[in-house]
Amino acid sequence: MNKGKGKGSLTPYLWMLPSILLIAVFVLFPIAIVFKLSFSEISKAGVVGGFVGFRNYVDAVHLPAFRTVLTNTFWWVLSVVGISTLMGFIIAMVLNQKFHGRKLARSILIFPWATSLVIQASVWNYIIKYEYGSLNNVLLNLGIIKEAINWRSSYHVEFVWECAVGIFVTIPFVAFCVLSGLQSIDESLYEAATVDGAGFIDKLFTITIPLVRPALSVSTVLNIIYVFNSFPIVYTMTKGAPANKTDTMITYLYMLNFYDRKKGPANALSVIGFLILCLCAGVYMISVMRKEEL
């Protein structure tokens, strides 16, 4: 690292000023607002009153749907991140092989990543419709099923579908992260291992996984944050219905704030979500910083 300007000069800070300003106003300020509101009394119309301590938090925890929403969020994040990481890893391993049409396959795999989530969710909404949905139609026409199947018979099933769509759109991100890790592995390592008589499983656990781990951990932590924050899939497919049974934290606090007008508890939930993310971010930062040489 070269010295550039000497320490103590203002120049570097000036170079960074626009960026700092932008982040401060539009990222830090909202954080401050949410924190402040969560400790204040707010009317349904949004008029901010005085300091009420932790009352909003107590209200939030005592909301009837709080437990359901928390469990849903947990399963949502766990299943989407877990399964998409596993499948993304497998797909990346396959796409790292040399074969004709590999470029094409990679281009196709990128589609879900490039598509807006609200569009993806709308299409899947159509696909799994009972009366005229494309999935029933295709399966019937292929002669795989005899009768149309009701794909959304209960809210449990609907929630599973939401998770499935979440997995579908998350896989490309994981696959490409892992792929970038795989491409940096030196071919000769595998050749040496083959000479030593290592099989596929040996190579997987002694070479591939350890060397891909950094890429995998970045994608996993980023995914936890993206998936936790994901709003359009649940909102488009069920809007949390029936009675918040399919809501996750984010869709719930949206409904709470903008529909039910319970702004106090909504802000408190926002802070809780924020703190959960901070925890993830902290873990991520420590792991990245450890590798950085600054």
């Binding site: 982040i23 539009f26 598509t115 569009i119 159509y126 005229y132 139609n137 149309a148 709003f231 359009p232």
Partner: protein, 528 residues
Amino acid sequence: MKTLAGRNRMALILLLLAGLLSIMLMLLPLYRFSASVYTKKSGNTFAGDEKYLEVKAEVESKADQFRAQGLLVDISETVTERTNSKGEVTSMVAFSVVQTFTKSILSFLYAGLPSSRALWGMLVCMLLSLILSGAGLIGRMDLIPKYLDRRSKGLRSLSVFFSLLGTTLVPVFILLNNRCFWRRLSLYEQDLLTEGREEFYALLDSFLFQGKMGEEAGTVLKNLRMEHSPLVWVLLLLFLLALSAAVQIRYGSMKSKMLRIFLFAFVIAVCVITLYPYYVMLITAFRSNAETLDMYFLHLLPTSWKWNNIIDIVNRGVPRYLLNSLAIAGGATLLAMLCGIPAAFAMARMNFKGKKFFLGFVIMSQMFSPVVLLIGIAQLMNTLRLNDSILGLVFVNAAFNQAFAIWLLRGTFSAISLEMEQAAKIDGCSTFGSLTRILLPMAAPGIVTTLIFVFINAWNEYTISTVLISTSSHKPITVGITQFSSFNMIEWQYLFAASLLATIPVVILFMAIEKHLTSGLTSGGVKG
């Protein structure tokens, strides 16, 4: 240890055996049909009374008529007893003459059904595979495949190709039959589909009843039932066996090549599943409203392409939404780059106090997608009088992509050697000059990647826009399309036509940076 010639001979025998076994399987009566050819209901009749015997005799004579025609029929009778409102017991007897019969797979050959063609394909493929393998082996029984001449290599490759083709045709055959007898027939039966009904009934009549039903075919076929034995799937196993034998003959070893075939199958499956929603989006966008709600749709493509859907959505404000999205995404990208490039430059090329802190700050802000701060942002925009404006979205999108932009750009800048800039500095170039004239042109690929990435993120953003924007003429496309799906009516064709227009540009952009994505994604974050 076996010799190569021995192994080749074994494989050839295996191939032959698989062929013979599949022919034998095809001769078995695996398909079972039942159809009631004649029904007679007799009301107010009790089992065993005079009327019952009378009707029974009539039905029996009818059955004898069928038997005289050479059909295999059984008589089944059902008695329904009911107590009516006056407390009297009434009874009804229904007789039906049910014809059950079985068909072997091979009998489908001349049925003229869609599956017949697949069956012909299977047989021809199997035969060709056998002949070609044999021809490729003649005189070269003990030659290692690597050193074969082009002719026998080609012959053996063709053999593999044909057995692969034959193998894929097996499920095609089975599913085509299911489609025919489960789907098509039931649609005709319920009068949900009429096109091509006469021809189809005539085909089935000649296949199942040797054309004896004639006029009655319609009524008889209405209650035709088809079942197939699970044994038909054994055929697939036999074809796979033949395939592996052909692979063994061509490559001398089976393991790696079979693995390769499975790899291809896996990749194709992944691609098909990935593309499926896009296919649905594409065809639905060009179907009429009635057709999008039609569960009896039998076609792969719309029956007539409704280009009018595009005109309709144009009239309903979609171009406006697209322009808004362009303004938001373009503005946000510009702002993010204008702020991000100097910051990334400072972090890559300068040393200063608090750099580590700033870096941490940037990573932290990357963590908070705007969604969890939704309420705070809405409040802030109210204060700044930026709610319901495109400018507000430009700022928010730029701010929340800032972290990612700096991260990617810093990685790109750090990877470029310092020498050119140092040389420029000696020649009297300012820091700003060395950035714009030297570093930026050299970092172009990384900058383009970052640019496109930020653009796509901003283009696809939905949640903040849906909260901040209420005026229709300010909506970006992601929010604008939701007007086509109100609570009780969804105009799928418009929804997907607009979605298509919103998706195509970003997918193309993303494909353009795909190559840089794999390296850029982690170069900033992981390797540092």
